[in-house]
């Protein structure tokens, strides 16, 4: 392992992290002894049984919550609060109901520096950028609609655009394609892969779909049941850009099968510390 030599280039370093929701009785231990690293520009996926703490990891890395134990650093600094290099697509794709879809997508540019400093001057340019993004995910024509006029899958795509608009260095995607039909989903895999190849952001994607994980990622991490920790990691070394047909190759199916076994294992495994 050359982990030691690489340790400086890790954008994210999660070291023996634990997280407990609440205190005392009735508290929930969501993560215990979770460790993994993500290098700059790497695309990784997290898979694991429902409720194992995947979304919790997103909240920790984004700085929305502090860790209960262990160390978590992003860009070499311990995470103490939200960072503006991060773009998140939350599992629940909430949007601000009083803003149009376009304005929702533009929101990060109004908040994050340096964009907010010249939001007024470059408004048209920004709007064009947002429109282009919405078009890529198939939402052209819905820019002026309000969130309650969109379907669940459309909101999910819009919130993906919101995560991308300020071209963050670190993307946290929590089941970004969960409520889409198979074809739209596969189309967006292509979109995401292209975007990643072009801009090389670091991406942590959470998914329940193994094909998705294997197709898109450089590395897939399998988590155990709650309290979640990393059970297994698997490098995926197919050439990029990957054509969609690759998902039917034997080598691809083999990787997916391999991961599947470990998820099965993870579901059954209840860690000694598991309590309520």
């Amino acid at each position: 392992m050359d982990a030691e030599a690489q340790s400086n280039s890790h954008l994210i370093d999660i070291d023996d992290v634990s997280l407990r929701y609440g205190v005392g009785e009735g508290s929930t231990l969501a993560l215990a002894g979770t460790s993994f690293q993500v290098s700059e520009g790497e695309f990784i996926s997290l898979v694991g049984p429902s409720g194992c703490g995947k979304s919790t990891i997103v909240k920790l890395v984004s700085g929305l919550m502090p860790v209960t134990g262990g160390r978590l650093t992003v860009d070499g600094q311990p995470v103490t609060g939200p960072l503006s290099i991060v773009g998140i697509a939350f599992q629940n794709p909430v949007m601000l109901p009083w803003l149009s879809t376009l304005d929702n997508v533009l929101l990060p540019l109004k908040i994050v520096r340096p964009h907010r400093d010249h939001f007024r001057q470059r408004k048209e340019e920004f709007r064009d950028r947002a429109r282009a993004l919405l078009k890529v995910v198939g939402l052209d024509g819905f820019e002026q609609k309000f969130p309650w006029q969109l379907s669940g899958g459309m909101r999910q795509r819009a919130s993906l655009c919101r995560a991308l608009i300020h071209e963050p260095r670190l993307l946290l995607l929590d089941e970004p394609f969960a409520s889409l039909d198979a074809f739209t989903r596969e189309e967006l895999w292509g979109v995401l892969q292209d975007l990643w190849l072009e801009k090389k952001p670091t991406i942590i994607m959470i998914t329940h779909e193994l094909r998705e994980a294997v197709y898109l990622s450089d590395k897939v991490y399998v988590m155990s049941a709650r309290p979640g920790r990393i059970l297994y990691e698997r490098d995926v070394r197919f050439d990029r850009p990957r054509p969609l047909e690759i998902t039917f190759d034997d080598a691809f199916v083999e990787v997916a099968q391999d991961l599947r076994q470990y998820i099965q294992l993870g579901r059954n495994e209840t860690s000694a510390e598991a309590g309520p």
């Binding site: 984004s62 503006s84 629940n92 909430v94 949007m95 601000l96 009083w98 908040i111 309650w148």
Partner: protein
């Protein structure tokens, strides 16, 4: 949207989108006209009742009698009405501004919320009539105590609703902003305040009605002008039709101001209304 103490829940107008849109007497037009027709109907019953039972004017005047007064004494009544309206709107406006400021302070900090809310409830349960004599001692009689009374009385609903609106802002909405590294101020401006707007506008409708009560109460105790004081003078002269004319003016002004804020609410918080059909 989450619900709060004073917040409207408007039932969906189910029939609307399916109702046939026939001419003048469509169900929809009929429903629109119904409040006016019903009011007219009540006045007619009142008029006929008084005539049938031969009720004396100084006990219960007939509508035609006090509507006549409205016309014949219009210039005089106009002056009093303007005074009352002015006092109410001024007190209300000051109350809303103060209320929003206090509401934001109380609602955006859990600590202040916990500390100040019980006090505000206690303060609100004091009947506001009770403070008028104190105001008279401090400010004499006239416009000032009336403005202050309507200010004080319209303050609480705004404070309570703005604070509640802020305190109950969906955490998920705030997280969108927080995750971008937004400051507390940004989060307040982009999420807290907009999401409290439905609460705020609901409180305006309540406050404007209360402001009226405040003004009139104060006028009846400590003023020489305004509808309230006019009614006191009229009743001590046993000019009962004039008293009723005053009541009609108050009712009309109250409904009109309420309507203004109801329309404003509809405009500003369309995104939070239940919607039977798509907004255009």
């Amino acid at each position: 949207m989450s619900t709060g103490p004073l917040v409207k829940t408007k039932p969906a107008e189910k029939a609307d989108e399916f109702a046939p849109q026939e001419g003048l007497f469509s169900e929809r037009n009929l429903r629109r006209a119904s409040p006016y027709l019903f009011t007219l109907f009540l006045f007619v019953v009142w008029e006929l009742g008084c005539l049938a039972f031969d009720v004396a004017e100084y006990v219960l005047p007939r509508p035609t009698q006090f509507f006549e007064i409205l016309l014949t004494r219009a210039p005089d009544l106009w002056g009093h009405s303007v005074q009352t309206l002015y006092t109410t709107v001024l007190g209300f406006a000051l109350g809303v501004v103060t209320g929003v400021i206090i509401g934001i302070a109380v609602g955006s900090s859990k600590l202040v919320y916990a500390a100040a809310y019980p006090l505000l409830v206690g303060f609100n349960s004091i009947p506001k009539v009770a403070i008028v004599p104190i105001l008279v001692i401090w400010f004499g009689i006239g416009t000032v105590p009336a403005v202050i009374t309507s200010l004080v009385i319209s303050l609480f609903p705004v404070v309570a609703n703005v604070a509640t609106g802020l305190a109950t802002t969906q955490a998920e909405l705030e997280d969108i902003l927080r995750a971008l590294g937004a400051s507390k101020w940004d989060t307040l401006v982009h999420v807290g305040l907009p999401s409290s707007l439905p609460y705020f506008f609901a409180s305006l409708k309540i406050s404007i009605s209360l402001a009226f009560v405040g003004t009139v109460v104060s006028e009846t105790i400590a003023a020489n002008t305004g509808i309230g004081s006019m009614m006191i003078v009229a009743s001590s002269n046993f000019d009962v039709p004039l008293v009723f004319a005053g009541l009609v003016i108050l009712a009309v002004m109250g409904v009109a101001l309420y309507a203004v804020f109801a329309v404003l609410e509809q405009r500003m918080t369309f995104w939070a209304q239940t919607r039977p059909d798509e907004m255009g």
